[in-house]
Each structure stands twice: as structure tokens, then as C-alpha cells.
């Protein structure tokens, strides 16, 4: 699978990372990593969370100084004391979490850090924006406020920022996490166009489908070391195996659902966010025991608020929520949890997990005040510890000691802790938001299996996910949300492009019609 070393002339051109080593204390984040980025190529860097991809790119971008190895551009060794130096050398980065000032306009963001002259010349800045926008075919309005732009357009601004600095090499760090399927396709086109212009592109991702779609070269990083390269045609299963180091079953072994009676009934639910804006607008649906309802949609269309309202963390403006016949509208989280709600929050660092608490304490975070974990006013530390050891074995949580702090766990293991905590109780309803976000492929397999097992026990499961692969794998029914409304509730075998359109607000019938029209046009051309 290793690509042969090319001839000398090709090697001299381009960007090479040679033997880059980066340590944090005794932890080796990058171990003698060699990476060859050629102009006019899309080089995918694949790896699990914690493999060292971001660290490597931060070294390249001047945010870290390597402990060993060198960076060579066009045959000349370089060292970057800070991002400014890296940018001057022609390296641009499109970050996963955009580095834009939301209250500034596009033009103001473009000149940030490189303001021309003593008095800011906005006319010149706007002209630059328009020129770049036309040159690279990335349409943006120079006067628009960033916070008012859709995410896909914000990303375009990020890309233009990198290009404005005359980048010859562009690093895209997990760019598709926040995009709809259509926007992802658009981004792929942009990346291919930039490649055709001669830019060298590094595409960091863990999404195997995207890698196969546009990679010219694939390098796999595992635990800080390069474990191999792959040719563009490599199957997803083989790529996953390289990433994780063992065979990974990417498909979910899911038998047909055997739904029972309705357990969760939501009627006319309307919820406002903390700013007072209505974000869930008159929603009605129900979920039976023994089925998984996936709530699909692009981030920010009300799904998170719906989950919070089900938990009781957000006040309900109107409507009704009932679980197993009991009215839980406006109940506190303590009450809903007691009624059998299991909750896996979207942002585990923020809402699910206390990093400074021990793993054992995190495993009883919502049960510590009742027997067997408490007797009267005191905690039963032994029971808490025993429970933790038991769950550690059952859920394969990788940690040497359950008394270690939670922040010592990797993303996947932290998520296992959250899920283990919920699944170790009797549940009537499991609400899981983005349960595999930031989780590596190996742990995803396990988490999906456990969620399906929970469903098979007769629990109703509501899964909020922006990953269409996850929705396709797990859903028994799919509820698509857009701007707080239900666009439609469809079956799991709904084609990807139809779902994508529904996620952008197009009704099911229309989406199907458009998809069929596209298909027949394609056939007609052939």
C-alpha cells in the first residue's frame, strides 16, 4: 500500500514534513512523521481522534515548535515561530472552528491582522474581497456581517482569508462537520478547483466517504505515527482498519425494529431559546418502545433545544410531553431522569461530564444521592467504586484506574462513560444527541451496538444526529427538522439526496420529485 518514492525533481517542489516529532512532557504526539504535500494534489490525512493530526498541522502552521525534524518548502528548510511566519511562507489554514469575528463584515475579517496603512482603507479591502471572490469562484458579499451568513458561506470567508495571504498550501481541518450534504458537495468542488489551480491541499478528516471521494493521496496516522498510505480506490473497511489497527465492522447489525406501544408522545411543543426566539415550533411526533427515531437536520435548526426540552433543561412555551402516559411537560431534569429518561448531551464537555471529577464520580453523576450510592447524608464510596469497575469492564472504558480524573479519557472513552451511566439504569426513553461526535471509528462501532441493544430491550430511542451515515445505519424512522419545524417523517431507506434537500427545508414530495428529475436527466445524458 505504500506509494513508491517519486523522482528527485518532484520531491524538490512542494512542502515536506520530515521526521517531525512533538512531545508534551512524556507524551509523544507526533513520532518522526514524514508528510509530502505536492502542489496540485489533495492529500488526505486520516486518523482517529488523538492520533496527532491536529498537532501535526499546528506544528506546520507555527503554533507549536517541533522537538525534532524539519519543514522543507521548495527544497529550503523553514522554521515558523508563529502563524504569521507560516502564512508568509505560503501556508494557509481553514480551521474547523472558524477564526472569524462574527460582528465584523466579510471585508473587515479579510484584512484582520494585515490592515493596510495607518488609516484603514475599507474601499481597498472590499476590492480585494471582490477580486479574490471572482478569481476563485467563491461568491461572498463583502459588506455582509459574518454572523448573519449561513455556515457554508462563513466557511467560504475562512477559505478566502487563507487565499488572501497568497497561500500556496491550504490545510483544511475537519471542514465538513458543520455542513449540509449539499454544502459538502460544494466544498468538494471548491477543493478540486483549488487543486487544479496548483495549490497543494491537506484535507484532515475522519470521514471515510469524503476521503474516497476526492483524495489523490491518503496518509493514515495512528497514535502519532504514520502507519501507511493508501491509494484513492481503497475501500472504507480497509481505511478503517488502517486507522484503528484492527478490523472494524462499519455496518450496524440491526434487525428490524419490533415497535411496541407508544412511549413518548410530544404534542404541539413550542420552545424558545434563552434569547427568547422560538426555536422549536409546534412539533408533534411520537416514539414507540423498541424503535429508534432519528432527528436529522443541520446543526442549529432546533434539534438541540428539542432534546433539552425533553430533559427539562429548557422551559416549554406550549405543548405537551408525556412519557408512558405521565405528563412531563415542564418537569425538572431530576424528575424526567427519575421517570426513566436517559440523556446523552450534545456537548459532553459542557453538559455531560465533569473533567475534574473522577471517572467513578462521573458514572454516578445523576444517581449519587440515592441508594446504593448514598445512605442518608453520606456517599457510599465503595459502591460508587464497585459500580465504576463493573461499568468499565462492561463498556470497555480504557483507563488504568476509575479514580483517575475524567479529563484523562480520550473523547471516545468519555462518551462511553456518559452512555454507560445512562444505560446502566432502567430506561423508558433514551435521548442521545450527536452520540458519536468526536469519537473514533473503533468506539463508534461499540456505541452504535449498545444503542441498538437498548432499543431491543423495548426502550424508545430518540437519536439526534447530523451525520447521515449514522442516521442511515441506525434509524427506524427519520424525522427531519428545519428552522424548528418538522419537514417530514420518512423511512430510513430514503435516498441521501432527498434527505439532504429536506434538511434544507424542501418538503418530502418536492425533494423526491427533484431527485427523480435529476436522475432521469443523468440517464438522458448517458
Amino acid at each position: 500500500m505504500i506509494r513508491p518514492v517519486s523522482n528527485q525533481a518532484e520531491q524538490a517542489d512542494g512542502l515536506q514534513l520530515k521526521g517531525i516529532t512533538k512531545k508534551f512532557g512524556s507524551f509523544v504526539a507526533n513520532d518522526a512523521v514524514d508528510l509530502d504535500i505536492r502542489p496540485g494534489e489533495i492529500h488526505c490525512l486520516l486518523g482517529e481522534n488523538g492520533a496527532g493530526k491536529s498537532t501535526l498541522m499546528n506544528v506546520l502552521y507555527g503554533l507549536y515548535q517541533p522537538d525534532g525534524g524539519e519543514i522543507v518548502i521548495d527544497g529550503r528548510p523553514q522554521s515558523f515561530a508563529d502563524p504569521k511566519a507560516a502564512m508568509a511562507a505560503g501556508i494557509g489554514m481553514v480551521h474547523q472552528h472558524f477564526m472569524l469575528v462574527e460582528v465584523f463584515t466579510v471585508a473587515e475579517n479579510l484584512i484582520l491582522g494585515r490592515e493596510p496603512g495607518l488609516v484603514v482603507d475599507m474601499k481597498a479591502a472590499k476590492a480585494t474581497v471582490q477580486e479574490l471572490s471572482a478569481r476563485y469562484n467563491l461568491p461572498v458579499d463583502a459588506d455582509a456581517l459574518v454572523e448573519e451568513l449561513p455556515v457554508g458561506v462563513q466557511q467560504r470567508v475562512e477559505i478566502l482569508k487563507a487565499l488572501a495571504n497568497d497561500a500556496k498550501f491550504l490545510i483544511f481541518d475537519e471542514p465538513t462537520a458543520v455542513l449540509t450534504p449539499q454544502e459538502i458537495d460544494d466544498l468538494m468542488v471548491v477543493m478540486q478547483r483549488l487543486r487544479d489551480e496548483g495549490k497543494g491541499i491537506v484535507f484532515i478528516t475522519h470521514k471515510l466517504r469524503e476521503v474516497r471521494a476526492i483524495a489523490d493521496r491518503i496518509t493514515v496516522l495512528r497514535r502519532g505515527k504514520i502507519v501507511g498510505s493508501a491509494k484513492p480506490g481503497t475501500s472504507e473497511t480497509e481505511l478503517a482498519q488502517l486507522m484503528v489497527g484492527r478490523a472494524v465492522d462499519l455496518s450496524v447489525n440491526k434487525q428490524h425494529a419490533d415497535p411496541g406501544a407508544v412511549r413518548l408522545a410530544v404534542n404541539g411543543l413550542t420552545v424558545a431559546n434563552s434569547a427568547g426566539a422560538v426555536v422549536v415550533d409546534d412539533i408533534t411526533f411520537d416514539v414507540a418502545g423498541g424503535e429508534i427515531l432519528c432527528i436529522a437536520g443541520v446543526q442549529g435548526n432546533g434539534q438541540s433545544e428539542l432534546a433539552d426540552a425533553l430533559l427539562g433543561n429548557l422551559p416549554v412555551l406550549s405543548g405537551r410531553i408525556s412519557l408512558d402516559g405521565r405528563d412531563l411537560t415542564g418537569a425538572t431534569p431530576k424528575a424526567t431522569i427519575a421517570a426513566g429518561l436517559g440523556f446523552v448531551p450534545e456537548d459532553r464537555q459542557h453538559d455531560g461530564f465533569i473533567g475534574s471529577f473522577s471517572i467513578a464520580e462521573n458514572l454516578v453523576l445523576n444517581r449519587f444521592d440515592a441508594p446504593p450510592f448514598a445512605s442518608g447524608l453520606s456517599l457510599n464510596l465503595k459502591a460508587i467504586n464497585d459500580n465504576a469497575n463493573r461499568l468499565r469492564d462492561e463498556f470497555d472504558i480504557r483507563t488504568p484506574d476509575v479514580q483517575n480524573v475524567g479529563s484523562s479519557l480520550s473523547g471516545g472513552n468519555a462518551q462511553k462513560v456518559v452512555l454507560a451511566r445512562e444505560l446502566s439504569r432502567e430506561l423508558a426513553l433514551l435521548v442521545a444527541s450527536q452520540p458519536t461526535r468526536g469519537v473514533d471509528v473503533g468506539a463508534i462501532e461499540f456505541l452504535h451496538k449498545r444503542i441498538v441493544e437498548e432499543r431491543d430491550k423495548g426502550t424508545a430511542v430518540v437519536l439526534v444526529s447530523t451525520e447521515l451515515e449514522e442516521v442511515e445505519a441506525l434509524a427506524d424512522r427519520v424525522l427531519v427538522m428545519y428552522r424548528g419545524h418538522i419537514v417530514g417523517i420518512v423511512g430510513p431507506d430514503t435516498p441521501r439526496d432527498v434527505l439532504g434537500m429536506m434538511m434544507a427545508g424542501v418538503s418530502h414530495e418536492e425533494a423526491v420529485a427533484v431527485a427523480e428529475a435529476d436522475a432521469s436527466t443523468a440517464e438522458g445524458v448517458e
Partner: protein
């Protein structure tokens, strides 16, 4: 385990280094402030022995007086313990709140209320011996709890920041005491100055050895209780969770508002206990000092530095309280024996805290500490 030991070792070393640096700066101040000793430095190169010798005599006399006055004799130890008792209680009040993510700047006001209640029970309600003391202490605890609980309630219901509310409550408490001492309820009959009647002997903490009194052991008991509360109780779990990550705590079903109120009430009670120490603890002449405006001194503010130095952990707070109690007791000796002003001990205290609060500063000054990575956690909320 080794990581834990390494962090602890570093914490201790930094604290020690901070102390040494503070002593050094204090020594320099002493030298500069004394005209004779400072004058000698004009001849530093011609007669170095005179300058350096004079300086050494000055500094060593002062610091040895400080040391002897703090721990040099049983009398000194007793004086240290008496000075430490209110500092430990108030330090616990601040430290406990820190663990819940709250900045309790109101220990001063809570201590004042505690002292008012305890003193009033002591001089106004005659009762049989043991019961009188118990009721007086309970009264002080409750008064402090109410004063702190109000802050917690305001924060829970309205989101009002506790820093602002506690500071204002300090002013209110001070004013309340000043006013109360002019009323017939609190003012000693026959006196026109703001001073209360003497607390009855039945309500005072019994003296055990010179200045060492029962109140000191009550303070230690309070520290043990707080340690149990934080590490082994159900409430303590909530307090720590809310302090570390209120969002996760809320999502897990904990009631953040209620925990805030409970924490501030307990903290208020602990600071009230500091006030109780001041009101019921026997002074040098064997009798509790009557209630007056300056009775609790600055214990509420000193408590903040005690809590910081103790990293908001009960054991650390006890040790820090003893340290500052020692500085206070020894400072008196230093003043009388070495003619060094008592205010220098305040400067020393402040310097110790400055250097502890700026561990990076210490680490920069002491190179071998610099190599270690990591932060020293002061509030303990993320310990």
C-alpha cells in the same frame, strides 16, 4: 498516584519558596526603613562588615523574635492557636464557597453578624454554664448562615453576582453593628461609647492553657466537618459538581440554585463561627473582649488569603490559619523585642500571598521550579 504526589510536592515547594521570598523582601524592607542600618550601606565598599553585619543583626533579631513569639514557647503556641482559630473558621467559609465556584468576599460581614449574635446571647440571656455556651455558638452560626444565605438566595433567584452582594453586605453589617452599639439592646448601661456589656463567663470558651481555649478545637472540628462534607457527603458532591461545571450538574438533575443557597448558608455559618471566636474567646486577661466595632478585626479579609494559601482544602486552610496566626502572635513579640512595627507582619502576609498567587512569578525566580509544567490551582474548584 505518582502524578498526585508530584503535584503535591510542587504545591508545597512553591508555597515554601513563596514564604522564603516574602521573608527576603521583608528583610530588605526592614533594612531600608531603619535609618541607622540603611545609612551604613553608604560605606558598603569601604567597610562591608559594618553594613552587612548591621543588617544581619537587625533582620535576625526581628525574625527570631517573630519565630519565638509564634512557636518558641508553650505560651507562644497558645497565643498562636488563639489567633489562628478565627482565621481557620473564616478561611473555611471562603474556601468552601470557592469549591462551589462562589467568591465569598462577605466573610467579614458574616463574622460580624456571628459575633453580634453570640455576644448578645452571652450578655443578655443568662443561662446555666454549658448550655449558655452552646446556645451562644448556635446563635452565632445561625446569624452567619442567614447573612450568607441571603447572598446565595439572591444569586439563585436573580443571578446577582455574589462578589458585589457580599461586599455590600459587609458594609451593611458594619453599619448594623455600629448602630446596634448605640441602642439600649447592645450598649453597655452607663457608657456613652459604643461598647457592649461583658459576655458572661458561662458563655465564654473555657481557657485550657493560657491563651489556648476550647474555641481552637471547635475550629479544628469545623475543618474536619468541612472535609467530610466535601469528600464524603451527598451535599458535598453537589457543591463540588456545581463548582466544577454547573451545566453538567444541572443536566444531571442537580438543583444549581438550591446548592448555591445551601453553600452560602454553610459558608456564612462558618464565618459566623469566626465571629463567635472573637466574641466568646478569652483574651489575654482571661475574659472575652466586649463587643465593639473592631472586635472581629479584619478576619473576613484575612480569610481570603488563608483560603488561597490553603488551596481551598480544609487541611491547607488549617495550616495556613496556623501560619498567619503565628505571624500575628509573633508580630507582637517582634514589635516589642526588635522594635519592628507590627505592620511589617501584615506586609509579610501580603507578600506570602502575592508570591503564592503568582506561582509563575515564583517559578521564574526559582529556576528549578520552572521546568515543571502545569498550573497551581488556587480556588480548588478545578483541583
Amino acid at each position: 498516584m505518582r502524578e498526585w504526589a508530584r503535584t503535591r510536592w510542587r504545591d508545597w515547594t512553591i508555597t515554601l519558596a513563596a514564604f522564603v521570598l516574602a521573608l527576603l523582601v521583608g528583610a530588605i524592607l526592614m533594612i531600608v526603613a531603619d535609618p541607622v542600618v540603611a545609612g551604613n550601606f553608604a560605606y558598603l565598599f569601604t567597610a562591608p562588615g559594618l553594613a552587612l553585619g548591621g543588617a544581619w543583626v537587625k533582620v535576625s533579631t526581628a525574625y527570631s523574635a517573630l519565630l519565638v513569639g509564634a512557636v518558641g514557647s508553650p505560651t507562644a503556641l497558645a497565643a498562636t492557636s488563639a489567633a489562628a482559630a478565627p482565621l481557620i473558621c473564616a478561611g473555611l467559609a471562603v474556601g468552601l464557597a470557592f469549591r462551589a465556584g462562589l467568591f465569598n468576599i462577605g466573610a467579614q460581614g458574616q463574622a460580624i453578624l456571628g459575633s453580634m449574635a453570640a455576644a448578645w446571647v452571652g450578655f443578655a440571656l443568662p443561662m446555666p454554664p454549658v448550655i449558655h455556651l452552646i446556645v451562644a455558638v448556635l446563635g452565632g452560626l445561625m446569624a452567619g448562615a442567614v447573612w450568607g444565605g441571603i447572598v446565595g438566595w439572591l444569586k439563585a433567584k436573580t443571578g446577582a453576582h455574589e462578589v458585589i452582594v457580599t461586599i455590600m453586605m459587609n458594609y451593611i453589617a458594619g453599619g448594623l453593628l455600629a448602630w446596634a452599639l448605640t441602642t439600649s439592646v447592645f450598649q453597655r448601661p452607663g457608657r456613652s461609647d459604643p461598647i457592649s456589656p461583658e459576655v458572661a463567663g458561662s458563655a465564654a470558651f473555657p481557657q485550657l492553657y493560657e491563651q489556648l481555649h476550647l474555641g481552637f478545637f471547635v475550629a479544628i472540628l469545623a475543618a474536619v466537618a468541612v472535609a467530610w462534607l466535601l469528600d464524603r457527603s451527598v451535599i458535598g458532591f453537589s457543591i463540588r459538581a456545581v463548582g466544577a461545571n454547573p451545566h453538567a450538574a444541572g443536566t444531571a438533575g442537580m438543583n444549581v440554585g438550591r446548592t448555591t443557597i445551601i453553600t452560602m448558608a454553610i459558608a456564612g455559618a462558618l464565618a459566623g463561627l469566626a465571629g463567635v471566636q472573637a466574641a466568646l474567646g478569652p483574651s489575654v486577661n482571661g475574659v472575652p473582649t466586649p463587643l465593639s466595632e473592631g472586635l472581629v478585626g479584619t478576619v473576613g479579609f484575612d480569610a481570603i488569603t488563608v483560603a488561597l494559601l490553603g488551596r481551598s482544602k480544609p487541611l491547607g486552610i488549617v495550616l495556613a490559619g496556623l501560619l498567619f496566626g503565628g505571624l500575628s502572635a509573633g508580630g507582637l513579640a517582634m514589635q516589642s523585642v526588635a522594635q519592628t512595627p507590627l505592620t511589617l507582619t501584615l506586609v509579610l502576609q501580603a507578600l506570602v500571598v502575592l508570591f503564592v498567587a503568582a506561582p509563575q512569578l515564583v517559578a521564574t525566580m526559582v529556576p528549578f521550579l520552572k521546568a515543571r509544567k502545569g498550573r497551581v490551582s488556587l480556588t480548588g474548584a478545578d483541583a
